[in-house]
């Protein structure tokens, strides 16, 4: 809403220049975005909150200006010369739907001459963004901008039987509105009808057939009040927002209907000549007594924490039209803590219905800066989220491994999501998406990660390591479910060519190594070779977490023990299948992983609680290398397990240090170099012991895995 500074001055003395007025009004809750210069003088651009329809006109804003100076707004006096014939003798109004229309006033103007508006009027309307149409229509718009009340003028002679019936629309009833659009109505919509048909949509827009034109001589001026909820519902159903609907849906002033009509009639007579018939036809089913409101200093103190002097309370509420009267027994003593005021709700402030609303009125004009800031001590300890520590450690580790954190919008393309979606998952679709690319809540973070990698690759960024800590969404038997997940994505070089370093591409082993480092936080990741549809069939697998199967049990005596219920699949990792990479136009090998965080965080807690110091042996460790020839398909895990199964306590670690295929290796075989470190807690190992361990290990590997020792 724009307000002309000079127009304001017609209602109230404005003791501030426009710039200062902007500041003062803003600090009293009437936000002024800026001041601009127009041909009609300076204009203030108001950014009104929806609870203040009373400021959708200059007169209402003038009341706020008056309150800034603690003075009351002078009442409006409208002189209107009326002819001897009465309006009631010419027209008749019936409200058949009083629940939708609480008041309808009709005034009749006879013998008007419809013409273009004079300059001064056009100038003001145009400065406020209203196109000038003709003097009669412009008068209604002018008074709307002045008093905030939307009105409508009908060509009286085009109204069948020259009378008005306010009713619900009939199902399927049609009307062509002023904007030339034919609209089909429904019974929840309030229409203004004549004896035959709908001639306007109540509180939203008039009809084209009864529009004021240059041939119009007699005018019926409507000034009414409509139920806000009904207007809002109808306006949404019709997809039609107007100056009128904006005012009525926020709660217009029913008392203003008659005054605005009189003011508008006087203006029409001034601009278009003619005569106003005597009186107004006024049907007012919603008339009610003003709502009484009480304000006590005690409550003001309880809410605001600091007092406001009597004089300020009374001056502010008085200026705003609340007519405060002291209603307590201590009214003789100023600023008494027991003071109470009886007020009444002005008809233009339907948003103020409670004591707390009055407190806000007082506070905003008294000045929020006058309330002293205080900090209040906490009565309880503060806590972070239960998984905050685990998440911190995870994020730290990912960053240390070189991954950049991303944040993506979880709304994705359904077909792309389907490329990654595990079987049996019902995705959560959006019922009213704005775009096909954002029509579904992702069922996995992998789809977002693929997008983030593609975005960067398309912009010349080829070496990428990204991670996201977010959520995946799905429907679980009809109800939405949100799952905490971590997703990582990597592509390009693991190390780049440099003066001191040679280039190396990121490969599956990098992903595996990174995930092993991450898994260590939660007791260690395990793997199996099952692959999902998005994964490369040879370089991918599922991630399992042993700790996820651990359950902490209480023994009833304050102790705890853990029960292992087996490894649990928590995620998947590997190279992206070429088929899927193609869909995202990813032209280089891409590695992805995702795992569920709830079991990971649980595993983190268990691993942390389980951690105990392991004594460091004082005796030297001895390394022995075993160069094994194994059949293709034999896993390192089976080698490690075979060795571990011997139960030699002196085995400190078993590592794979080299892998070799080709020359000197028979077909169908490969060579694996295994390094075993032996160490005892009790003594230095003797050569005889080591020889014994070695031969036991070799014979076990030969027996269980058919391994042979490669002669070195």
């Amino acid at each position: 809403m724009k307000i002309l500074y000079d127009w304001l001055k017609e209602f109230v003395a404005v003791p501030f220049a426009p710039g200062e007025l902007r500041e003062r009004l803003s600090l009293a809750g009437i936000a002024v975005e800026g001041v601009s210069e127009t041909p009609a003088g300076p204009s203030l651009d108001l950014d009104l909150t929806i609870n203040r329809p009373d400021c959708l006109g200059h007169y209402g804003v003038a009341r706020e200006v008056a309150a800034l100076g603690r003075s009351e707004l002078p009442p409006l006096s409208v002189g209107l010369r009326e002819s001897s014939d009465s309006a009631a003798s010419v027209t008749d109004v019936e409200i058949a739907s009083p629940d939708l229309c609480g008041r309808f006033t009709a005034r009749v103007l006879r013998g008007v001459e419809v013409q273009p508006s004079p300059d001064w009027l056009r100038k003001r309307l145009e400065a406020l963004g209203q196109a000038s149409i003709n003097n009669v229509v412009d008068a209604t718009n002018y008074v709307m901008l002045e008093l905030g009340h939307a009105m409508h003028a009908f060509d009286l002679d085009r109204l069948a039987e020259r009378r008005i019936v306010v009713r619900r629309a009939r199902a399927g009833e049609k009307i062509r509105t002023l904007d030339g659009v034919e609209r089909t109505l429904s019974p929840e919509i309030c229409v203004i009808a004549d004896a035959a048909r709908a001639v306007g949509i109540g509180g939203i827009m008039g009809g084209a057939e009864t529009e004021i034109g240059f041939s119009t001589h007699n005018v019926l001026l409507e000034s009414a009040w409509f139920d806000p909820v009904s207007i809002r519902r109808s306006s949404k159903a019709l997809g039609l927002r107007t100056e009128a609907s904006t005012r009525f849906e926020r709660g217009a002033d029913p008392e203003m209907a008659e005054l605005a009509s009189r003011r508008c009639a006087a203006l029409i007579c001034e601009l278009a000549g003619g005569e106003a018939l005597a009186g107004v036809v006024d049907v007012y089913p919603a008339r009610r007594e003003p709502l009484p409101l009480d304000l006590s200093r005690k409550e003001l103190l309880r809410v605001m924490g600091a007092s406001v002097p009597d004089a300020e309370i009374e001056a502010i509420l008085g200026a705003l039209g609340f007519a405060p009267r002291r209603a307590d027994k201590t009214s003789g003593s100023p600023d008494s803590p027991l003071a109470t005021w009886r007020c009444r709700q002005p008809s233009w402030r339907q948003d103020v219905t409670r004591e707390v609303d009055l407190i806000e009125e007082v506070a905003r004009h008294y000045g929020l800066e006058k309330f002293p800031p205080r900090l209040h001590p906490a009565k309880q300890p503060a806590a972070r989220l239960p998984h905050a520590e685990a998440e911190d450690r995870l994020r730290e580790r990912l960053i240390g491994l070189g991954y950049h954190e991303i944040v993506s919008i979880p709304l994705v393309n359904e077909a792309e999501d389907a490329l990654f979606r595990p079987a049996g998952v019902t995705p959560a679709r959006v019922a009213n998406p704005l775009a096909e690319d954002a029509s579904l809540l992702r069922s996995t973070g992998l789809v977002s990660m693929a997008h983030a990698l593609a975005w960067n690759l398309n912009r010349g960024q080829h070496n990428l390591r990204l991670f996201e800590i977010g959520r995946a969404y799905r429907l679980q038997s009809g109800a939405p479910d949100e799952i905490r997940i971590a997703t990582i994505g990597a592509t390009g070089m693991a190390s780049e060519q440099g003066v001191a370093e040679s280039a190396r591409e990121y490969g599956f082993a990098d992903l595996k190594g990174d995930l092993d480092q991450i898994g260590n936080l939660a007791g260690g990741f395990d793997w199996n070779a099952e692959t999902l549809a998005w994964q490369h069939p040879a370089r991918a697998g599922r991630i399992l977490l042993a700790n996820a199967g651990l359950r902490r049990m209480e023994d009833g005596k304050g102790g705890q023990w853990f029960v292992t219920v087996g490894n649990t699949v928590v995620g998947s990792a590997g190279e992206l299948a070429p088929r899927v990479a193609d869909k995202f136009k990813l032209r280089q090998g891409v590695f992805l992983a995702e795992w569920a965080l709830d079991p990971f965080y649980e595993g983190y807690g268990l691993a942390r609680d389980d951690r105990k110091y392991q004594p460091i042996s004082r005796f030297p460790a001895v390394e022995r290398d075993f160069s094994l020839i194994l059949s293709e398909g034999t896993s390192f895990a089976s080698v490690r397990e075979t060795i571990a199964a011997l139960g030699i306590p002196e085995i400190f670690s078993i590592e794979a240090v080299d892998l070799f295929r080709g020359t000197n290796i028979p077909p169908g075989k490969f060579s694996l170099l295994v390094r075993i470190t032996f160490q005892s807690q009790e003594a230095t190992l003797t050569e005889a012991q080591l020889t014994d361990f070695s031969s036991r290990i070799i014979s076990a590997l030969e027996r269980k895995l058919g391994a042979t020792l490669r002669s070195v």
Partner: protein
């Protein structure tokens, strides 16, 4: 061609008095000085020089001892002895100097070869980064933890009741226009769900579960059905705050908000509360901070007002207490909703909201 004098005896040279002895020594000394003007190339060169002069078998000094001193007439002997000692110490001293210089030169040559170019890059292991939104979340969390606020979080998929009704926003409230909402496509007959438009539903969830005092912050994602542009996005981030107790007033609210702004923007930041409207707070305010671009003088960023709108807040509307069965006549409190992306944009001068969600590494790397 002259014969090397040291190969002959003094007699053979025809030296008969002290002055001749001294002249002879002077000649030898000049010879030595001439030979040692230049620094030998290396240790080997120096050793050859040393052996030529001090070598036990064939050095000049030895020869003089043998040929001159031992055969000198007794009257010349003291002078020969003195001159010989002078010569020896002169030679020794000079050779020692030369040796130190040779060693130093060799060292600096080796050093010059080994010297690293400090301007060459080292081997850098790539290090990742926290997303800027995450950094701001952590910063906000740190500030409010210090004030005794506990962190809670809740679902992003909510019911209309928690997102709207219980926050005093009934179905046909105009406030819903400012929060265009994505609804979930749920099977017929199941409860309607939406993507929360703010983190405020956790106010209601928390108060349903817990009696006062309540002091929480709620970080999380929120969604609006707005077409994406420089200031709008389908999704952005908020931190909701709520404090309810029997003794919280507007003054405590103000103190808390001012503390936050100073901690977040720096101690020079001034705070201004401007009356506003939200259905779930009363009184409601917009929290403004003094414009840090122009220090309050007025600029484009602050639309020439000197102030920048930071976030909305206010005293909890008593109507909300009704939904959670709190006694509105006994408890009071405040709530606020920080826009994390907006605060990050303001703090780091980021003019386009979309940058946060494109995840361009050239953006991510700027905030390690």
């Amino acid at each position: 061609m002259t014969t090397d004098p040291t190969t002959q005896t003094l007699d053979q040279r025809g030296v008969t008095d002290d002055s001749q002895v001294e002249a002879l020594f002077q000649e030898v000394r000049q010879q030595f000085d001439k030979q040692t003007i230049n620094l030998p190339d290396d240790e080997i060169g120096w050793r050859m020089k040393r052996d030529a002069w001090l070598g036990r078998k064939a050095g000049v000094v030895t020869r003089i001892t043998e040929n001159w001193l031992k055969t000198a007439a007794p009257r010349l002997r003291p002078t020969v002895g003195r001159c010989l000692n002078d010569l020896r110490s002169h030679v020794e001293e000079r050779l020692e100097q030369l040796h130190a210089a040779v060693v130093a030169a060799a060292g600096s040559a080796a050093l010059a070869r080994e010297r690293v170019d400090l301007s060459l890059p080292g081997v850098t292991r790539p290090i990742g980064s926290r997303h800027l939104v995450q950094q701001t979340f952590e910063e906000i969390e740190r500030i409010f933890l210090s004030l005794g606020f506990t962190v809670v979080e809740g679902p992003e998929i909510e019911t209309p009741y928690y997102n709207f009704e219980a926050l005093n926003i009934p179905e046909h409230h105009p406030a819903r226009d400012t929060m265009d909402t994505f609804y979930l496509d749920v099977p017929p007959g199941s409860q309607p769900h939406l993507l929360r438009t703010h983190t405020s539903p956790m106010q209601v969830h928390t108060m349903e579960k817990q009696r006062p005092p309540v002091r929480i912050i709620v970080p999380g994602k929120v969604y609006r059905r707005d077409n994406p542009d420089a200031t709008h996005s389908y999704m952005f981030h908020q931190v909701e705050g709520l404090a309810v107790d029997t003794d919280i007033t507007f003054c405590e609210f103000k103190g808390t908000v001012e503390y936050f702004v100073r901690e977040f923007l720096g101690s020079a930041a001034k705070t201004r509360l401007r009356p506003s409207y939200f259905p779930f707070t009363e009184p409601s305010v917009e929290v403004d901070a003094s414009c840090f671009a122009c220090m309050g003088r007025g600029c484009r960023l602050c639309k020439f007002s000197g102030w920048i709108e930071l976030f909305g807040a206010g005293m909890v509307d008593p109507a909300v207490y009704g939904f959670v069965h709190y006694d509105a006549t006994r408890v009071s409190g405040y709530a606020f909703g920080l826009g994390v992306d907006r605060l990050s944009q303001l703090k780091y001068g980021i003019d386009n909201l979309q940058l946060f969600f494109e995840n361009d590494v050239r953006f991510l790397r700027q905030f390690p």
